[in-house]
C-alpha cells in the first residue's frame, strides 16, 4: 500500500476524541508528540498527561484503532515521557472548544478568568482537584454554577 504522508495522519489523529473530554481531540490535548514512518511501520509517540491518568491506556487503544480503521496495519505506539506534558501544548482550537463545553481552559494566572457558563469574573476555587486528574473544581458566585477548570501544569 502507499504510505499516507505524515500530515494526513496528523489530520486523522485530530479526529480521535479524548475519552474523558470528547469535545477535544488527542491532538488538541497536545499528547501526540511525534508521528513518523520507520520503514513500513508508523511510529506514534504519545505522552501521558498525568502519571496516573487512567485514560492513558484507552487513548492508546483509540489511536491504534483509528489508524487501523484507515488501513494502517503496522503501527507502533511508544510512550514518551520527556519533556513532560504541559497545558501549554493545548491548542488554541482545543481551548476554545473546552470553554464552549463548560470547562474553563488553563490560564497562566493559575485560575479561570471567567465562568465558562455566564462569563462572570466572580469565581472561586472549591478544590484543587476535580473529576479527573487534569481538572480543578471551581464555582461561579454570579450564576452559582459549579464548573471544571483545566488546571495548569
Amino acid at each position: 500500500m502507499v504510505r499516507p504522508d505524515v500530515q494526513t495522519i496528523w489530520g486523522w489523529l485530530d479526529e480521535v476524541p479524548d475519552p474523558e473530554i470528547p469535545v477535544i481531540s488527542v491532538v488538541d490535548l497536545g499528547i501526540i508528540r511525534d508521528v513518523a514512518w520507520d520503514g513500513d511501520t508508523l511510529e506514534v509517540a504519545i505522552t501521558p498527561t498525568y502519571s496516573g491518568c487512567p485514560a492513558t491506556s484507552i487513548i492508546n487503544l483509540d489511536v491504534e484503532t483509528a489508524l487501523r480503521d484507515r488501513g494502517l496495519d503496522n503501527v507502533r505506539l511508544k510512550q514518551q515521557l520527556s519533556p513532560p506534558w504541559t497545558t501549554d501544548w493545548l491548542s488554541a482550537k482545543g481551548a476554545a472548544k473546552l470553554e464552549n463545553y463548560g470547562i474553563a481552559p488553563p490560564s497562566p494566572a493559575g485560575g479561570p478568568s471567567k465562568c465558562p457558563r455566564c462569563g462572570s469574573g466572580d469565581v472561586e476555587r472549591v478544590s484543587q482537584f476535580g473529576s479527573t486528574p487534569c481538572k480543578a473544581h471551581w464555582r461561579c458566585l454570579s450564576c452559582l454554577e459549579p464548573f471544571d477548570y483545566f488546571k495548569c501544569i
Binding site: Y50, S51, G52, L81, P84, S127, Q128
Partner: protein, 251 residues
C-alpha cells in the same frame, strides 16, 4: 544489572506505591466529597509514578519480572519504602500531616533527581515533580487550616506531628547503595535534601501554630528492608490478595 540502581528504584517506587495505597484507603469515606476526590487523585498520581519507577526497576533487574510482579508478588521484607508511609492512616489529620511531611521531601528529592545523570531517572522525576508540587500545595494548606483551626483540630494535628516526627529522619539516611548512586551522579545526597525540607516544614508549622518536637530520634529499617513495622504486612494482605489468590488474573 546494577544492584544499587535496582535498590534505588525500589526505594522510589515502593514509597509511592505504599503511600498511594494508604491514601487510596480513604476512597469513599473521606470527611467531605472534595477531600475524597483530592485524596483519590493524589493516590492515582502516586500509583502512576510507581508504574514508572517499578517498570524501570524491572528492566534494570532483567529477571523477567514486570512492574506488576514487583508490586503484587513481593513479600514484606523485599519492600524498600520508608516506615512513615506504611503507617496506618489513623484520622484525617494524621493522614494529611504524613502527606505533608512526605510531599515536602518528595518535591526536594524529585527536583534533585530531575538533574540525574541517568536519563530515565531524570525524565520520570521531571514528570513526577510537577505532581509532587501541587500535592505539597494542598497538604501544606490543609495542615495550616487544621493546625490553626479549632482547639480540637489543633490538638489532633499536634498529636499527629508528634507521632510522625520520629519517622521523618529515615528520609535522609543513606547506606552504601546510596553512596554508590551519589558518586555515579544518579541521585542527590539524601542528607543534602534535609535543609530544603526543614525550611518548608518550619515555615508551614509556624503558620499552622504547631510546635516541632525537639528530638532527632529516627525509626529506620524500611528503606533497607531490615525491619518494617507490623503494619506493612497487614496492608499487603489487602493490596495483594487478588494476585495471590488468582495468580496472573487480568481484566
Amino acid at each position: 544489572m546494577s544492584a544499587a540502581l535496582f535498590e534505588t528504584l525500589l526505594r522510589l517506587g515502593d514509597n509511592t506505591l505504599v503511600l498511594g495505597h494508604r491514601v487510596s484507603e480513604w476512597c469513599g469515606k473521606a470527611p467531605v466529597l472534595e477531600e475524597d476526590i483530592a485524596l483519590a487523585n493524589t493516590a492515582l498520581d502516586l500509583i502512576g509514578q510507581t508504574q514508572m519507577w517499578l517498570s524501570y526497576a524491572a528492566e534494570v533487574e532483567g529477571a523477567g519480572r514486570s512492574a506488576d510482579d514487583l508490586a503484587m508478588l513481593r513479600d514484606v521484607w523485599d519492600f524498600r519504602n520508608i516506615l512513615m508511609v506504611e503507617r496506618p492512616n489513623l484520622d484525617f489529620g494524621h493522614t494529611m500531616m504524613r502527606q505533608f511531611l512526605f510531599d515536602a521531601y518528595h518535591r526536594a528529592l524529585l527536583s534533585g533527581l530531575a538533574g540525574s545523570g541517568d536519563p530515565r531517572v531524570a525524565e520520570i522525576a521531571a514528570k513526577a515533580v510537577k505532581e509532587a508540587t501541587y500535592h505539597l500545595d494542598r497538604s501544606a494548606e490543609t495542615v495550616i487550616a487544621l493546625g490553626d483551626g479549632t482547639e480540637v483540630s489543633h490538638a489532633k494535628m499536634q498529636t499527629a506531628l508528634d507521632l510522625l516526627w520520629p519517622y521523618t529522619g529515615e528520609m535522609f539516611h543513606s547506606d552504601e547503595a546510596d553512596a554508590e548512586m551519589v558518586a555515579a551522579g544518579v541521585i542527590p545526597d539524601p542528607e543534602g535534601l534535609r535543609p530544603a525540607w526543614m525550611d518548608t516544614v518550619t515555615a508551614t508549622m509556624a503558620e499552622a501554630t504547631l510546635t516541632l518536637p525537639d528530638s532527632n530520634f529516627a525509626h529506620k529499617g524500611g528503606r533497607t528492608g531490615k525491619q518494617h513495622t507490623e503494619h506493612l504486612g497487614h496492608m499487603l494482605t489487602q493490596m495483594q490478595w487478588l494476585q495471590r489468590a488468582y495468580p496472573d488474573a487480568t481484566w
